[in-house]
């Protein structure tokens, strides 16, 4: 790389020059860091300081820059130079602000700063400024799957923003579930009366919108490609197959109602016991008049049973049926009770609830129904018998008594079951069995294909990965619109149970994400949370052993396989987490600006004192999304922690390759601590599965440690949230104390 010229710039501002020997740091950068240009400046982020660097880039041929100043999270704009690789040595937040005050600590403080300069120089030498993806995706069209309220809303939102939309609906009519509803729960002030659904107007708007291309009576038989270049095969009623190229997809496939016949104890399947959908149909038929039963009798008394077959308790109380709360059904029952009261105030309407969940303005609607005389009884319904006079047996939870009442009609508030296609775990087992020749599995595979919504040809399976209870997985806690299929966004009840208002909001959000996705994809950039990133994984396939770990472990299904079973990276699907890089046992996957080498060389650059110096060295691999900011924040608050640690930010714990751990231990580090986001069902990992993968991999590292003769405590994994600034400082100090007790690593001096 003859044309590369490396330069280091050390800032002595913000007090760095007062506490640290900047001259010594310059020497390190020159001698050990082998930087061709080394300069210091009293105020590097000032125009003058930045111009100094710019000038060297423009006139002195500098291509690689190490900035030793503040954290990489500070002054990011000032220190970004086009087509120049930049590394950052964190002297301010990482050293100055966190090492205890006083002359006693001068030595360790300086050592820490020197190591960070060594690391910054080592890193930038292995970096390249990402050139971007030459194979830029082209399509900015957005496909919406599902023509219900959510789908129509998403389609209109995208069209209004100027994007072409392809809307695929499996039935012959737009509107979905809303078509069968008389009215909807109020969504405007004063939130007192049920409002028209507006479904027909919305459908007319969609039909009349020149930017929206409609495919009714159509399903997806195959979806291939990646953001910016999806190709969807759309099977039409006629049997013909249309092909559409789109840039992003919104999946708004809604829900089905929980089957009534699964609730025999609550009268499911018996005469005059209906679910909310059934009542909606009766009300629609009555159209404001008296609501009549199937046998033509006018309903004079009605009981609503809340949470029927939901929340693990509405039915048998034994955890059968749906575990979750569908969220909308309390307000829906309130609405339906007012159907009766509005038509005839003398109809007895009783809502039996365990706790009425009407968040937000729903409280006003609840009050309005009470005013109309709807009776709310806190009760657990034990048994419903259908028939001419339905008998409802219940326990009154306020009066603490078992009692019963009769009603002309009983309405069960059953839950939403998501329409989210194939469960990928089931898919994977079935495909594996089918590939080994199992005939039953082959049949099951084609059955599964039939229930698939998207029919993705991804190696990880035909639909979006599912979350608990079968909803499409989205990043619940932090980024609810993000799913695990880049460029495909779930909206509405396929993502989580919700009402129409929330579904429409969700749909608008999903449409906006889809727009972002096509814009990023056509610019060759990543999607959230590294949207600016032009790098993408590259694999040296000649070294690949076809172990398939990368294809399996990529949380976003970005990697397929070619006929020769080599991994095929779909750049536009990649979110740049580096989980594949962490997975690869032969380390052939890398990014231009982040690789096994950029981190590995930093680990090796640290000066490890021998065991007699009693200065342990601890490597911290900190997730750049939460843990690293928490460390910076600890500095900002002037919380101190041990000067023996050396922290390296990683894109995600999922990108941590075990080679880094073994390298660190081999070269005499006393311990390695990984800090990442929360894993599990309530994960906060920005890349969903990354931190979970890290835990899994580290659980397997025990054997390696044993071979090295090391205690398992020398490698630790911790969950850290962005707000945990006090916690990180304590974690570090506790760990250093623990390692001190264990004594120095026996590997010292061998590295």
């Amino acid at each position: 790389m003859a044309d590369n010229k490396f330069a280091a710039y050390i800032c002595s501002g913000c007090g760095i020059g007062d506490k640290l020997n900047v001259g010594a740091l310059e020497k390190i950068a020159t001698k050990e860091g082998k930087m061709a240009v080394v300069k210091s400046h009293p105020f590097l982020c000032s125009t003058e300081g930045v111009d100094l660097i710019k000038n060297d880039i423009a006139n002195d041929g500098v291509t690689h820059v190490c900035i030793a100043a503040c954290s990489r999270r500070a002054k990011a704009e000032a220190f970004t130079f086009p087509e120049t690789a930049v590394s950052r040595a964190n002297l301010r937040e990482g050293v100055l602000w966190v090492v205890a005050e006083g002359a006693d600590h001068d030595e360790v403080r300086q050592e820490m700063a020197e190591d960070y300069v060594r690391m910054g120089c080592a890193e930038v030498k292995k970096m390249m400024s990402p050139a971007g993806n030459p194979d830029k995706a082209q399509s900015k069209r957005i496909m919406v799957v599902g023509g219900g309220m959510s789908g129509m809303t998403a389609a209109l939102a995208a069209a209004d923003a100027g994007y072409e939309v392809v809307l695929v609906e499996k039935t012959g009519k737009l509107g979905g579930f809303a078509n069968n509803m008389l009215k909807r729960v109020p969504f405007n002030a004063p939130h007192a009366e049920a409002q028209p659904t507006g479904v027909e107007e919305l459908a007319a708007k969609v039909t009349g919108n020149a930017k929206i291309k409609l495919h009714l009576n159509s399903t997806l038989t195959e979806t291939a490609g990646a953001p910016g270049r999806f190709v969807a095969k759309i099977a039409q009623e006629s049997g013909a197959v249309a092909e559409e190229t789109v840039g992003a997809i919104v999946q708004a496939t809604g829900f089905t109602t929980y089957p009534l016949d699964k609730l025999p104890e609550l009268g499911g399947g018996q005469a005059n016991v209906v679910d909310q959908a059934g009542l909606e149909a009766m009300a629609k038929a009555a159209n404001g008049g008296a609501i009549k039963r199937a046998d033509g009798k006018e309903v004079k008394s009605v009981v609503f049973v809340q949470c029927a077959g939901q929340r693990g308790s509405g039915g048998n109380g034994d955890g059968s049926h749906l575990e979750y709360c569908s969220g909308h059904c309390c307000a829906t029952s309130i609405k339906q009770a007012t159907y009766f009261k509005d038509a005839n105030p003398d109809v007895d309407t009783v809502v039996m609830y365990q706790d009425l969940r009407v968040p937000g303005m729903g409280e006003d609607f609840y009050r309005s129904a009470q005013k109309k005389g709807v009776i709310f009884t806190k009760a657990k319904v034990n048994k419903v018998a259908g028939g001419d006079a339905c008998k409802v047996e219940f326990k009154d939870l306020i009066l603490d008594e078992d009692t019963a009442t009769d009603a002309d009609l009983v309405v069960l508030a059953t839950g939403q079951v998501p329409v989210s296609g194939v469960n990928l775990d089931e898919w994977t087992t079935t495909v594996t069995a089918a590939e080994s020749g199992d005939e039953a599995a082959k049949e099951k595979k084609s059955a599964l294909q039939k229930i698939s919504v998207l029919n993705l040809n991804y190696r990880q399976g035909p639909d979006m990965p599912q979350f608990k209870y079968g909803f499409a997985d989205s990043h619940f806690i932090c980024f609810p619109y993000e799913t695990r299929r880049t460029g495909i966004y779930a909206a509405g009840p396929t993502r989580r149970p919700m009402d129409m208002f929330q579904a429409q909001e969700d749909a608008t959000g999903a449409a906006m994400k889809a727009i972002q996705a096509v814009e990023n994809a056509t610019r060759g950039r990543a999607a959230h949370p590294r949207a600016w990133d032009l790098s993408f994984p590259k694999a040296r396939l000649e070294g690949c052993t076809q172990c398939k770990r990368c294809t399996v472990e990529c949380p976003f299904g970005a990697i397929d396989e070619d006929e020769k079973r080599f991994p095929v990276f779909n750049e536009q699907r990649c979110r740049r987490c580096g989980t594949c890089m962490g997975a690869c046992p032969v380390r052939v996957i890398s990014f231009e600006n982040y690789s096994c080498d950029t981190v590995g060389s930093q680990i090796k650059a640290v000066n490890i004192p021998d065991e007699f110096e009693e200065k342990p060295r601890i490597l911290i691999l900190a997730c750049e999304n939460d843990a690293y900011p928490a460390l910076d924040m600890a500095g900002l608050q002037r919380l101190t922690y041990s000067a023996y640690v050396r922290a390296i930010p990683v894109r995600c714990l999922g990108s941590v390759n075990t080679i880094w751990i073994t390298d660190a231990l081999n070269s005499g580090y006393d311990g390695v601590m990984m800090m990442g986001c929360k894993k599990g069902d309530d994960y906060q990992c920005h890349f969903v599965k990354g931190s979970e993968m890290a835990y899994y991999r580290m659980s397997k590292i025990g054997d390696t440690l044993k071979q090295l003769g090391l205690e398992p405590e020398r490698v630790q994994t911790q969950e850290v949230a962005i707000t945990d600034n006090a916690k990180v400082a304590k974690l570090i100090d506790d760990y250093v104390a623990q390692l001190n007790e264990m004594g120095p690593s026996p590997m010292k001096g061998f590295g």
């Binding site: 009425l356 009470q370 005013k371 009776i375 709310f376 806190k378 306020i398 009066l399």
Partner: protein, 206 residues
């Protein structure tokens, strides 16, 4: 069963809530209770009640007419207004309690010998006679409400306070002979009779 009670039963069948809404002061608020239990937790008398306001409201909604109207609970209310201040649904709970007590009294369903009720009755009877409260007669009536022997005992026990009041000029022994009256005694009586007639008509208690 009193006549009024029979009529009410016949009129509202088993819709007790409707009956309360029509005939009990502030009764139309009962349906607005959301059963949060804040009143029950706030009432200083709570532990001594058989049914908290929250429960009473639920019982009304469950149609438990006899149990509510025959209950001693609403008579226990001391009008501290804790519940009114705290009720998130702004129910005038204190007033409803009094309304219920009054209604059960008028129907003849209130528990016999309930002290609050007895005192209220004595106070009312004393007041409407002259348009003024005759403190001496009111006190004596209270002492002797459980018979002559008990009355003497009560009077002896309160002797010190009585003498003190007399000395301070707050209790006039001469009041025993008729006592002070308001200017237009018969006017006041007529006014009260008219008010009662109107109320009875409204609550179908006539």
């Amino acid at each position: 069963m009193s006549n009024a009670n029979q009529q009410a039963v016949a009129k509202y069948k088993n819709n007790f809530l409707k009956e309360v809404e029509a005939n009990v002061e502030e009764g139309h608020w009962v349906k607005m209770c959301m059963q949060c239990g804040v009143c029950a937790g706030s009432c200083p008398l709570g532990p001594h009640w058989e049914h908290s306001p929250q429960k009473i409201f639920m019982m009304i909604r469950a149609g438990k007419r006899e149990e509510v109207l025959g209950s001693d609970s609403m008579w226990m209310c001391t009008s501290c207004y804790n519940c009114i201040v705290r009720c998130p649904r702004k129910l005038p709970i204190t007033h409803i309690m009094h309304g219920l007590a009054n209604y059960s009294h008028r129907l003849g369903l209130a528990p016999k010998g309930q002290p609050t009720r007895e005192i209220a009755k004595l106070f009312w009877d004393n007041l409407v006679k002259t348009g003024r409260v005759n403190e001496l007669k009111f006190s004596l009536a209270m002492y002797f409400k459980d018979g002559f022997g008990q009355g003497v005992k009560n009077a002896m026990a309160m002797q010190g306070i009585g003498l003190g009041l007399m000395k301070a000029g707050r209790l006039n022994p001469m009041e025993i002979f008729g006592g002070h009256v308001c200017k237009d005694k018969s006017g006041v009586q007529k006014m009260i009779a008219k008010a009662r007639e109107i109320e009875d008509r409204r609550k179908s208690l006539a």
